[in-house]
Symmetry: C2
Subunit: 222 residues, 2 copies
DNA sequence: GTTTTAAGTAAACATTTGTTCACTCAAAGC
DNA sequence: GCTTTGAGTGAACAAATGTTTACTTAAAAC
């Protein structure tokens, strides 16, 4: 008749700390379910609370409904994305083959944050209209930052910002598409992973090849 | 006390015709729900049968479960996609600005088959693993056909097929992404639609600019 | 030390879900 | 014409869903 295993030394936590902790558990639970093949509109509130080890009604102490939880997850995914950019910025430009090494780094980063990338990649087009819109807005934000970075790097300094953003938007679309496929690889498929990476490298190369020859659109003049 | 409105002159149909007809109603119902904001994993069997005007149990006379229905929808979407290619082939090359006019045609085609394109665009990354895989396979098929078409048109005749497919895969990714956004436009937003189209045209231009300069990968030699 | 507050619990609810079973009844097969 | 077949019905089920309502109980406020 073991009643209840005390999950953690709980007494040391303040009330608000405890609250934030279960809130986190709920978010984690949803993320786990999502990366276990579920998709967001297929989630149920009770499922999430069950996974979090919490009674269903406790959910309402933290979120109005599942959509609100989802939005907070999207926000976090946006942070993860932008952190990627920041790290890439600090790493500076590698010497040799910049695209290939970027893809390697990106690939590792995706695998290090599978749940956020799966969320971003798979609910970007599917899912509830609310989440979709939120993700689009995060992606747009990311694209703007990336374009700004290209500008700081002096890449195609002659182009107007809108053109740089057009290029970056293409890159990001390709990146997120690749993320979805990377995460679908049945782990340990080294060969398939390498082919995928090869294609990804090729596509980015193609894009930048186009970007180098790109001539400014007429949008900059009256 | 109106019992039941006789929906159609039913007596003239043979048994198998009637069966195929309700099967079609079920598929139509699912497509309608999907393009009304629902996503596939959020669909319920009863919901579909309700929309189709049929009792829930009738569903099992046509499909084992929702996944089977979904697969048949994906198959149809694949047909629609490939029909697009065939029509483009017959239309031949327009004289002036080939990319812009292609985008116009594509855009109209997407709006003419919104449900199939929404399915393809939104369940390609999200949704159930089964549907996702099926859609990926349809898309791959489409990419191969498109590459073959480029070959027949004499575009970059020097490149190996794998490279043409790499290019086409990039194009198709961009196309499907654009389809998702086109369908999300709150109808009547002419300005937004034009901006979207402009970006779409730009990205394709960029891709083909890169494709023209592309140099064959080393994969062709031993 | 007493009172207040609020995170989490427990029970109960009205719906909705997927699936079963036995049934009708009209077309198809003979 | 009689029999067989099978698409669609209707009732019933166990299970799961979202949400409300009243409750415990320990930290926070005084």
């Amino acid at each position: 008749m073991a009643k209840h295993v005390e999950p953690l030394p709980v007494a040391v936590l303040s009330r608000s700390e405890r609250k934030q902790h279960t809130r986190e558990r709920l978010r984690e639970a949803a993320l786990d379910l999502l990366s276990r093949g579920q998709s967001f509109p297929g989630l149920s509130l009770r499922e999430v609370t069950r996974e979090a080890g919490v009674v269903p009604t406790a959910f309402y102490r933290h979120f109005r409904d599942l959509d609100e939880l989802g939005l907070s997850l999207v926000e976090e995914a946006g942070l993860v994305l932008r952190r990627l950019l920041r790290e890439a910025r600090q790493a500076g430009l590698p010497t040799e083959d910049i695209i290939r090494s970027s893809v390697r780094i990106y690939s590792a980063y995706v695998r290090a944050h599978p749940r956020q990338f799966r969320l971003a990649a798979s609910e970007r087009a599917g899912g509830s209209p609310l989440l979709r819109q939120a993700i689009r807005s995060e992606v747009a934000h990311f694209v703007r930052e990336m374009a700004q970075d290209l500008r700081l790097l002096g890449f195609r300094a002659d182009l107007p910002t809108a053109d740089l953003e057009l290029i970056c938007s293409l890159v990001v679309n390709t990146m997120l598409g690749a993320a979805g496929e990377i995460l679908d690889l049945p782990e340990g498929q080294g060969q398939a992973a390498r082919e995928l990476e090869e294609r990804f490298v090729g596509q980015l190369r193609l894009i930048f090849l186009g970007a180098e020859r790109w001539r400014a659109t007429s949008a900059s003049g009256p």
